[in-house]
Symmetry: D2
């Protein structure tokens, strides 16, 4: 059995990692890290685990944990994982970091968008960006996996085949994203109170959201040149789910549905977790809720020569904990889908 430790176990992503690992036949959780709740029973914070989890919350002591665990998940704010990792830890244990610390290869860019100094830039180069469908082989060999952000996962996977196959003009990409509120975390902030979010929708982080450079990096890798995009996230009154609606100009205005569809099939036909929907079916976040699936589809608008690309995903599963477990499966040579075949829950 693989022994797993979770640092930041009482955030929503941490809670979701625990939910998934409890159903994973090859893993035992040995450490529920939560600085805020040290010594409290984990199941008293998340009563869903009542009678299912017996452990208590422990400190975020990565050095001690490295001696006990085979893999560490860090579901913590930016900067924490980077401040804790070192050569000794990485030599003992695999680390899957759900923060942004190791996602951006250009340290200066990271520091500018996140407004913090990177404490361990020496590990940025070796960290593998854990977008499994794209970097599968590199992930298998990694010590340190940078688990992708929620918006970047959904944005990249839905646009990737179009850039890879050179079908769209990269300079025209606009990504309008909508997220459930769990993406904002479990911190006690007025803006995330029920009465502030319910019956409301707003854009936030317009032209300044931190996931922008991460998405741009991934899209740039796909097309082989630097891409700048517009990315606008919105807060939607629902718990889970991300919907990404993207726009780009087609390089060939006369391209057919079938040709574009072939591009998607080329990359995703054999992928379990990326589902390209039937023609004219628009993805809905409800259809993937609780699961590791990303549903994608597209629509060509011959009037404007643009393509509209849609992707839907559960931000806490494929956008965080599910992808982290998928990465763990790759790191340990397990079946990639192990512990991840939850069926989306309707309604």
């Amino acid at each position: 059995m693989i022994k797993a430790g979770v640092i930041g176990a009482t955030g929503y992503a941490g809670n979701e990692i625990v939910r998934l690992l409890l159903g994973h036949k090859d893993v035992n959780i040995c450490w529920y890290g939560s600085r805020s709740y040290i010594d409290k029973k984990y199941a008293s914070i998340y009563q869903n685990f009542f009678q299912l989890v017996d452990g208590k919350c422990m400190d975020d002591n990565m050095a001690a944990l490295a001696d006990e665990a085979d893999v560490i998940f860090t579901a913590t704010p930016q900067g924490l994982c980077a401040s804790l990792v070192n050569e000794e830890i990485l030599s003992k244990v695999k680390v899957i970091d759900l923060s942004a610390d190791f996602r951006i290869k250009d340290v200066a860019k990271y520091e500018k968008w996140y407004g913090i100094q990177h404490p361990t830039p020496q590990y940025v180069a070796e960290a593998v960006y854990g977008l499994c469908e794209i970097n599968r082989e590199d992930i298998r060999k990694a010590r340190l996996v940078a688990n992708p952000g929620c918006y970047p996962t959904c944005s990249t996977l839905s646009i990737y085949p179009l850039l890879k196959e050179g079908l769209i003009d990269p300079s025209t990409i606009i990504i309008d994203a909508k997220s459930g509120t769990s993406g904002a975390g479990r911190g006690a902030k007025v803006d995330n109170l029920f009465c502030e979010v319910n019956e409301n929708i707003k854009a936030y982080g317009v032209a300044s959201h931190r996931h922008t450079p991460e998405i741009e990096d991934q899209l740039s890798y796909a097309c082989g040149k630097e891409v700048l995009i517009n990315f606008t996230p919105h807060l939607v009154p629902m718990n889970r789910g991300i919907l990404v609606t993207s726009y780009a100009s087609l390089l060939n205005k006369d391209i057919s549905y079938e040709e574009v569809r072939a591009a998607y099939d080329k990359y995703y036909e054999k992928e379990m977790f990326v589902r390209v929907l039937d023609k004219d079916v628009c993805p809905q976040t409800k259809w993937v809720e609780g699961s590791n699936f990303v549903d994608v589809n597209f629509k060509i608008d011959p009037r404007t020569g643009r393509i509209i690309i849609m992707g839907a995903m559960d931000n806490l599963v494929k956008g965080a904990a599910g992808q982290a477990v998928q990465n763990m499966n790759l790191l340990f040579g397990l079946e990639e889908t192990e512990g991840l075949m939850q069926i989306p829950m309707i309604p």
Copy 2:
């Protein structure tokens, strides 16, 4: 492998049976019955099953199905299952009926509350009321299981130990229940539109709801004499979940928390799916969402001599599909929890 057929597969309960059976290692689904969608792909009605279910919707032909299947689930309106079963079918296949047709032993009472004539009263006596924690042994030997209603499951399980141990006055029981909207089904009715339910709460079926006699029957069995109750359901703006808040006068006003707790432990300590929460922790529907758990707890009010009993449950799982699968496990001698260990999903 057990071959299962689902009649009424495109309702919310039918959809949930499919979700659970797809994750059950000993079952294959051989029939997706849905009169309204014959010949349409099942996954086109419920896109959550896209690339997971390949079958098409078929007619509600129970005779044909009895030749193919080992077990039939009927998730259909009142009267349908009763009009289809016959000796030949029951001799070939186990039937788990999620409607009310075989729940009430007094046929006249059924006909009065449901306003329909019972087409096959001859099977009422042999049908076993499938409340697994209470009728486990009888269920194992049954041909026809009457799967309990959602409100009756949560109400009965939360009150049962108090009546069985003679701690409360049965004539004082009042049950105030709150349900998510999936309990109202998937029919296109104005009253169930998003804009009518959202930002709203109301009581309905006051002093007349059809689950009243079913609850009264079960409570009567528990205490050995006829019980009349008040039962008031309410519609809550959420998809899933039932919360039951019940009130009764204690027979001994000086009874302690520990004594009442002992009564609950006597019946539920070894039950996987009934969780008696720690003292002063109130059940929340979110803590059981997507799972087969029922969370119960109670509070003694020494000022009034009453006890307040609370139970929370996912109406589509333990209140419908989950309990149906639990019954199937019992009928076929499988591990009772097989396919039912979904962890509640938060948030």
Copy 3:
């Protein structure tokens, strides 16, 4: 023009007082009190007032305010208003306190349930409980009005005629209440985050909620003897609205609908803001949202000899700010409905 000051203007009740007073033809607001946001523009906290309110937030200085204003609304936590009022202030200005400080005549009872010492018990006796439909004449002559709690308003108004006319056994009253989340205030607490409240329902404060003694007092006055009740509030995933479902045993089991109806009409036929619905129509919170109406109705259950009483109300209007304005109208001899004829908003 009446000059009004609002202390606690940035809570949800304070915001609602401002909304209502802006539409009141006889009132100008001269003071937006908010300790947390001193010197910030009030409309920057509540952008609904953008270009409608120009004032800045000021300190909770009741002495200074008493010189400027004709009436002060205190929409602040328990204890604050009581710690600020004194003879000089009360001689200059009318005070309408939305906290519980002056609602309970028995100071010892107040101190026990609220766990604080009452700083100015000498004003408790003169304070008038501002339930307008019942204490109208006393309110007109008051200096200090104790604006009723949300649950007590809805509970008392819906049960009052039955007790006043001696139709029910006071010792059997059980009140099961459901409230939207704005009742929990605008404080940044994890329990009130969107993701914790949405898709969830729970009871809270079981057998211990602070509104219990306030309701008991009012019901006791109505029937002329001390009443103990069970009161259980629940948190519902909606912004506004309270639904109260109450139960009591009828003293005469053979009483007719018409006789009970006559009792309600006796007290409410001429009341603008209490609407007794037509037979068999259950109140819904949506039908009163944004308005000062309380909708009430009842159902007799001849099987159990009990009556089920329902009341629905907007907790921020009739349950707080609306009733406060109604009290102000009485205090200043204005038309009682002035500024309060908002039509409920659907959907």
Copy 4:
């Protein structure tokens, strides 16, 4: 007093017209038209009006109504108003049509997008598009007002100054819109059930929504040449509110915030109902709920040379009934804001 008739009074827009007119000091409603509910009390369909509206539902008899009323509002499906108007009616009464029948000047375009034949194309030319802030003077003189669609109102008003002042490239406009569910109407459809909409978001009508040509027409008028756009609406789990997020390339990449702001102020500084928010404040639908306001703002992204434009509005007020009443005020020479100064309701 102006006598007003409402055809289609039991839809959500019709209900909202009634709500607003009840608060309008110069109007009496003389006709509640609703084919589906003839002879039923209007307040029995919408219990919010209990004791406030006494009338019964009547047939959609526009000829009879023209003899009784001074103004007729038609809140009915496409094609109905156009099939009922004639010279006699228009000579007797003002008609404000909330359907799309008279919004698009090119009848062929209307027929193509709406898939129906226009029954009275002879009135299309004289009908005035009732976007009050832009066509104020023409509206005053009209007999027949085409009340704008919800998406077109919010889209046009938020983009208009940029096109009028020549600041953006019209060929680059992309409009990503999000709407509450009341926009889908009160018809009983599975897709609009609570359980289908709640905890879900999806795009719909991608590259084919009928409001596209209406928006394109208005934007074309603003810049003086034909504009083609991408318009993608999304269904959001909330009752009311539209948020429009639009994207366009700036013609001058070095333009400053102040210069763009000046363009907005030029057109909206004196407008009561269009509020240009302070710098960096993003519009939220909650801030305008229940009111006739449209909140707009913009953000320049110097990295991409694009401008992101945001507009928020209550789809049933400024997007339907409120604008209709504003048009009525113009038609009858009343104060334009009469009956429309509802303050947005928070939370």
